[in-house]
């Protein structure tokens, strides 16, 4: 194999298990057979919106698309507006699904039944082939594409596996996170392909589902999750089967929750830091303190009050949305986000984007989103919005917003006012917005 390509699947010997399904393990030869058979059936379009719920089918869909030279598009949500914008980005996009595909206005391919087979040749994928395109909300209303090439994804996931000491033992990997987002794609899908891990085909959501998934696969087990799911799992008051490693990302984990998780689940807990633009950049074991260590191949540098990442999976120097302090020993600390960026339960957007979407709704005269003080440790703080829209009811405005933005960013509360508290320069002082929220809270039912 030349250096200009990397194998689709690492450790592809006959004994390698790629996935666990409720009816048992999927071996590497069976997986490669499924990939080749699906690749032959994919329609002519060059881009795929893969919405398969089953993680094994999603994995086969991504792999078959790579083999067929197609790009997997991973938008942040599947709202009608997001799908419309996806068509604008790639006119030949089709949807691969394993449910109904309802509400997605694209040509569709239902994941087919694939006859059993065995293939032991591992396809080589060119390192400069575009594997996936992730999208974030741009500040102008048009989603920003982030192109990920195969070589950079492979290097990044091997760096992660090395850091987590998860290359060889063959972990059973259970993910509670969506695989259509950066963290889930890297730490569930890419980690399965490029370490010896085997992915659980289900998508556990409730605490009891996580327990069921853990019990369905052999040890050692790696749980890829978020602070929200971890909190729910620990609070559920149910017995959790042995876990050997925990991975969390999307939002900062408190030291208290990390300690409780390590104590009760008797497994080391590592956090990943990164963003859609750059992919994963660094990790830390949370109980060891606030300092992060860059993953192999990643370097941070600072200029003009901003921190830039080099390496990662984006291939170019990229400005980061966080305020970062670099230490002499090469580690770094995070000190919150730059003001315009919002991250709720792992979904990122900018206030500017949300304001643009709000202003675009017929009937909205003025309005803005803002983030209240974050009080919920390991919980989720919601955005607020203040709006001038005399002709619209709360229900109408909420329905219009739902067409445009991910539900997680829907404002709670949404306050209707006669005019916004703009100062002489037209700006909205944060203190005035918070005072408005405070008055609203006291008058609410």
């Amino acid at each position: 194999m030349s250096v200009e390509s990397q194998p689709l699947l690492a450790y592809a010997d006959a004994g390698r298990i790629v996935a666990w399904r409720p009816d048992g393990p999927v071996s590497a030869p069976r997986f490669l057979s499924d990939v080749m058979r699906l690749a032959e059936r994919l329609p002519a379009g060059g881009s795929v919106l893969n919405v398969c719920h089953d993680r094994y089918r999603f994995l086969v869909g991504v792999a078959a698309s790579l083999v067929a030279g197609k790009v997997s598009l991973l938008p942040p949500s599947q709202t009608p507006e997001a799908v419309r914008q996806l068509k604008h980005y790639a006119a030949d996009v089709f949807c691969l699904h394993d449910g109904s595909g309802d509400g997605i206005d694209l040509p569709k391919l239902a994941f087919p039944e694939l006859a059993a087979g065995s293939v032991d040749v591992v396809p080589a994928i060119a390192v400069d082939q575009v594997a996936v395109v992730l999208f974030t909300s741009g500040s102008t209303g048009t989603p920003m594409p982030h192109v990920k090439r195969w070589g950079a994804l492979v290097d990044s996931s091997r760096g992660e596996a090395e850091r987590l000491a998860a290359v060889q033992p063959g972990y059973s990997l259970i993910g509670t996170v969506p695989v259509q987002h950066s963290y889930g794609f890297e730490s569930v899908i890419m980690l399965t392909l490029q370490s010896r891990s085997a992915v659980w085909s289900g998508w556990p959501f409730y605490p009891a589902d996580i327990v069921g998934a853990l019990a369905a696969v052999p040890q050692p087990r790696l749980l890829v999750t978020t602070p929200v799911h971890l909190r729910a799992l620990l609070d559920a008051g149910i017995e959790v089967p042995a876990v050997d490693k925990l991975l969390s990302a999307t939002a900062p984990l408190s030291d208290g929750l990390a300690r409780e998780a390590e104590r009760r689940l008797a497994a080391p807990l590592h956090e990943i830091y990164g963003c859609t633009e750059t992919g994963q950049l660094a990790s830390r074991r949370t109980i060891d303190g606030p300092r992060w260590q860059a993953l192999p191949g990643v370097r941070l540098e600072q200029a003009d009050d901003l921190t830039y990442a080099l390496g990662g999976n984006c291939g170019v120097r990229q400005a980061l949305g966080d305020v970062i302090e670099l230490h002499a020993d090469g580690t770094f600390s995070l000190h919150g986000r730059n003001a315009d960026m919002v991250n709720i339960a792992g979904k990122r957007t900018s206030i500017a984007y949300l304001n643009h979407q709000l202003a675009d709704i017929p009937g909205v005269a003025d309005g803005c989103f803002f983030m209240p003080e974050e009080t919920a440790v390991d919980g989720v703080t919601r955005l607020c919005a203040v709006v001038v829209a005399p002709g619209l009811s709360a229900g109408q405005l909420r329905a219009a917003l739902r067409q445009r933005i991910d539900p997680i960013f829907l404002p709670r509360p949404m306050m209707f006012v006669e005019r916004l508290p703009r100062n002489a320069t037209g700006k909205l002082p944060r203190a005035d917005l918070l005072a408005l929220l405070d008055r609203h809270g006291r008058s609410a039912p």
């Binding site: 289900g202 998508w203 556990p204 959501f205 409730y206 605490p207 009891a208 589902d209 069921g212 929200v228 799911h229 729910a232 609070d235 559920a236 008051g237 149910i238 339960a345 989720v380 909420r398 329905a399 739902r402 539900p407 997680i408 829907l410 709670r412 509360p413 609410a444 039912p445």
Partner: protein, 95 residues
């Protein structure tokens, strides 16, 4: 006949109780009475998202003593409306 109307009033009482639990658990800006039996919990109705559902599942397990599961096909429909959630609770509650 008496049995049926008892069952109906039990269900009405449970729906009131569940509506109050939803409003409290999620800090919603509404009174429980505004949630009708048919109000969709996702999308057009209350507009709850997956984080809310996780929060609500925790409240259900604490109040009614059973764990919700998503891999059971029947459970996908549980959060369709107040009525479907209350029926599911009635069928599975241990306290």
């Amino acid at each position: 006949m008496t049995q049926t109307s008892n069952a109906t009033s039990d269900m009405t009482a449970l729906m009131h109780e569940v509506a109050a639990m939803i409003v409290t658990a999620l800090n919603l800006e509404m009174s429980p009475a505004e949630i009708t039996p048919e109000t969709p919990l996702y999308g057009e109705g209350l507009g709850l998202d997956s984080i809310d559902i996780l929060e609500l599942a925790l409240a259900v397990s604490k109040h009614y003593g059973f764990q919700l599961r998503a891999d059971d096909e029947a459970n996908v429909k549980v959060f369709t409306s107040l009525q479907t959630l209350a029926s599911h609770i009635a069928a599975h509650r241990t306290k």
